[in-house]
Amino acid sequence: MAEIKQAARPLSPHLQIYRWSWTMAMSIAHRATGVALYAGTVLIAAWLVAAASGPAAFDTAQAIAGSWFGLFVLFGYSFVLLHHMAGGVRHFIWDMGKGYDPQTRMNLAKYSVVVSGGLTLLVWIVGLAVR
């Protein structure tokens, strides 16, 4: 196979060319939240391993999770999780061949913010209530 030579000519337009739109922002957010969730699994693993290690390790993990910084991370993680989930439901709708017209696309992108934000608040209200 011959080496592919890069010709010195303009590349196809990329992110910086386009005006930001809801659909573009939510598409990028879906990928970004996926990466954040990927990194965050280390925290879930650490918390479960702490629980499996015994009361002392578990209490330490709970103290970190219950600190203001821990709660901040947990809140962010729950929002990122639910946002990725809402984005995934959007993809299911598209997989079924529906929701491709401009207005529906735009609405779905906006709903994914509203739904994930609403669910996050609901999760925390319930979580703090049962505590």
């Binding site: 996926g34 699994t41 391993v49 499996a52 578990f58 999780l81 989930m85 439901v89 999760v123 979580g127």
Partner: protein, 130 residues
């Protein structure tokens, strides 16, 4: 009879795997685990909420319940498979050097398996009361 105007042989076409050698298996697995994640993540959130502010013995009682442990294991497996192939797509999109790409895809697989194994071990140990 269909004309064979493409460069692909009829045998290659009937195998249906394309140049990636895996057909749509990757795509389909991503959607399958997305469906299971949708259910299992909501269950996981419910479990986490039920654990909020609980002392160790109470938390242990919840996590070691067979139903909770089985659902946690399913969540871990489904989540790790999903995140592995999701990250692989991102790597293939952005890393163009062949060596770096292969190394990153391998590291990604190792990471997903390590996280999955750690979570699964912890859940099983909590369940079986080690």
């Amino acid at each position: 009879m269909q004309s064979n105007s493409s460069l692909r042989t009829p045998l290659s076409r009937v195998r249906g795997l394309g140049s990636a050698k895996s057909g749509t298996g990757h795509f389909w697995l991503q959607r399958m685990t997305a469906v299971s994640n949708l259910v299992l993540t909501l269950i996981f959130l419910g479990i986490v909420i039920s654990l909020a502010g609980k002392p160790y013995p109470a938390a242990l009682a919840i996590l070691s319940h067979p139903l909770v442990a089985i659902l946690m294991l399913l969540f871990v497996v489904s989540g790790c498979v999903h995140m592995r192939i999701g990250m692989q797509v991102i790597i293939e999109d952005y890393i163009h050097g062949e060596g770096a790409k292969i190394a990153a895809v391998m590291a990604n697989t190792f990471f997903a398996i390590a996280v999955g194994a750690a979570c699964a071990y912890a859940v099983l140990k909590l369940s079986f009361g080690g």
